[in-house]
């Protein structure tokens, strides 16, 4: 047992970060599954983190209430900005959502009285237990797994395949997209709220451009063909820098190289159901 305790004392934070990162990757998977490249998830994570942290610190809300607040706040914001932005498509949607993310960051920086500005929020009570994170990941996976097999999930697939055709088949494209966007924001907010009550401190710099890109990388690297992909991607991006400690100064250089190599040799992502079935059919013969 003490072996496990030692392990947990050293790597507990990494394991819990695995969980929150998986949530983030799943949150962007939801919009990607609907064919939208929306990159506001880091901002939604930040909104969730600040909302939840302020609820527990200033209003002494209980932890479930704080978590709920951390999900509702970004979902509301997503519904508001979704109305105009979801008309955009492709790169323009990505850029508008990235721009929105920067607006959120600068807003947090400039509302010192509420958010502590650049200094961030300090002394957030550490309420997140390991099983909270596990439960959240399992619940989100279950819900998404059910959604994929439902009418809504098929609507996502249809919209990703061809938006115009999906509309002609009677799918309400706008509200389906909005649903994916808002639900993704709520999941990202949950990740932020859990993370805030884990790390004791949050600051505006954590939710910027780089975090947004990292979330996207986790999902794409893992593969967006199934739910396992984003979780695998999140695990790789979280564990890799830790596993490469031996390279000291060149640790992140090697980390970047590995990312490039994965993308070069597995352009469909690591978890690619189509490739697996091809392997089975062709008796394991590789066919790129």
């Amino acid at each position: 047992m003490s072996g496990f305790e030692d392990f947990w004392a050293i790597y507990g934070n990494v394991v819990l970060t695995l969980g929150t990162n998986s949530l983030l990757a799943l949150s962007i998977w939801l919009t990607l599954a609907c064919g939208m490249l929306a990159m506001a998830n880091a901002a939604f994570m930040g909104i969730g983190a600040y909302a939840a942290a302020l609820l527990t610190m200033n209003y002494e809300a209980s932890f479930p209430v704080a978590l709920a607040g951390g999900m509702v706040a970004p979902a509301l914001v997503a519904a508001l900005i979704g109305l105009p932005t979801l008309r955009l498509s492709g790169v323009y949607l990505a850029m508008a959502t990235l721009g929105f993310g920067e607006v959120v960051r600068v807003t947090i920086l400039n509302t010192e009285s509420l958010t502590g500005g650049a200094l961030g929020l300090n002394g957030i009570p550490q309420l997140t237990q390991w099983w909270h994170v596990v439960l959240a990941v399992v619940l989100v996976l279950l819900v998404l797994w059910r959604v994929r097999r439902s009418k809504v999930g098929r609507a996502f697939d249809a919209i990703r395949g061809d938006e115009t055709a999906a509309g002609l088949m009677g799918i309400d494209v706008r509200s389906t997209k909005m649903l994916a966007f808002v639900a993704g924001a709520a999941i990202a907010g949950l990740a932020g709220a859990l993370n805030a009550h884990l790390t004791f401190f949050i600051g505006p710099g954590e939710y910027g451009f780089d975090r947004g890109v990292e979330i996207l990388t986790m999902a794409i690297l893992g593969g967006i063909g199934g739910l396992a992909g984003p979780v695998i991607g999140a695990c790789i991006l979280t564990v890799l820098p830790e596993a490469l400690r031996g390279f000291s100064d060149f640790r992140l250089v090697v980390n970047g190289l590995i990312l490039v190599l994965i993308v070069l040799f597995l352009p469909q992502g690591i978890w690619d159901p189509a490739r697996f079935s091809r392997w089975l059919r062709k008796g394991g013969r590789r066919h790129a």
Binding site: R87, M95, G99, V103, N110, V253, V260, V263, Q268, A288
Partner: protein, 293 residues
């Protein structure tokens, strides 16, 4: 006072424009959102620093070296990363993710070799003098930035508009496949474009390094964010738009610092970007791409 701000805004806007030109060139011709452009910009700046500080050569040699080093780096990225992905018909987001990996490698390699702290160009790299033109104070650096940027932009415009090479590039931007069928060597032009775009980024890196007098491994990241804003403002892939967008952002930032407050500087850039996208999704100068059934 206002006129003085005008000079600051013009020099800052010129650097933004130079940086955004490379970014938009890659997007327009290769169709890739190159998130390694900020890292290439940083490599250009460090290359110039090594030439000036360690080899003791004059600034013009450093500028040439920065262009060559950054340009070659861009060409290598195209050969080793983007070309294999093109050949494998990778989905359209994959090249972008690959350039993120490249940026991580370059940023951290710079940190490992040069340290995380700020480095400076040695004193006297650029003459310290201040010129007074029509009552305006212009430092030599600012004047140099403005002249060099406009010269490079003019060269690029002439190449794109007037030469066979530019026509071929515009054909590829329309459709690489059609260009290939017309007998254009698409792969070679991709390589040349990568070189030219990265070289422009490298020069922008040197100019910012001189202007702010600080080089650090992550200096490309804020620039990359602004470059994206500029390119969106001007319309993705539009060369003229990138120039005007860069100048526009320079003016918006300098005026907001002067009249609103320095903390709102970044909010101005991205708030503007967000608003413009809502009103004109194709950017200020972009064309609407109609989807044909």
């Amino acid at each position: 006072m206002l006129e003085q701000q005008f000079v600051n805004a013009l020099s800052l806007g010129c650097v933004y424009a130079l940086f955004a030109l490379g970014f938009t060139l890659i997007f327009g011709v290769l169709g890739v959102i190159n998130l390694a452009h900020g890292a290439v910009f940083m490599v250009g700046a460090y290359a110039a620093l090594v030439v000036v500080a360690n080899l003791g050569l004059p600034l013009w040699a450093a500028l040439v070296a920065a262009m060559l080093v950054a340009g070659l780096l861009g060409a290598v990225i195209d050969r080793l990363v983007l070309k294999p992905l093109r050949r494998r018909n990778a989905p359209h987001l994959i090249p972008m993710i690959a350039t993120i990996g490249v940026a991580i490698v370059l940023n951290n390699a710079a940190q490992a070799f040069f340290g995380a702290g700020n480095l400076r160009f040695p004193f006297g790299t650029v003459p310290e003098g201040v010129l007074t033109v029509a009552g305006l104070h212009v430092t030599v650096i600012e004047l140099g930035i403005i002249l060099l940027s406009f010269a490079l932009m003019a060269v690029l415009m002439i190449v794109m508009r007037r030469t066979q090479f530019g026509r071929a590039l515009r054909a590829i931007a329309e459709s690489p496949k059609a260009a290939w069928l017309l007998g254009i060597n698409v792969e070679r032009l991709f390589l040349t474009t990568s070189f030219a775009a990265a070289a422009l980024g490298g020069v922008a890196g040197v100019l910012i390094g001189l202007y702010a007098n600080a080089l650090y491994p992550l200096m490309g990241q804020p620039m990359l964010h602004k470059g994206i804003a500029v390119v969106i403002l001007g319309g993705m892939g539009d060369i003229r738009g990138a120039m005007l967008g860069g100048l526009f952002l320079g003016f918006a930032e300098v005026l907001s610092v002067a009249y609103v407050g320095s903390t709102m500087r970044d909010a101005v850039a991205f708030g503007l970007l967000f608003l413009i996208l809502l009103v004109r999704p194709q950017g200020l100068f972009g064309k609407v791409v109609q989807r044909k059934a």
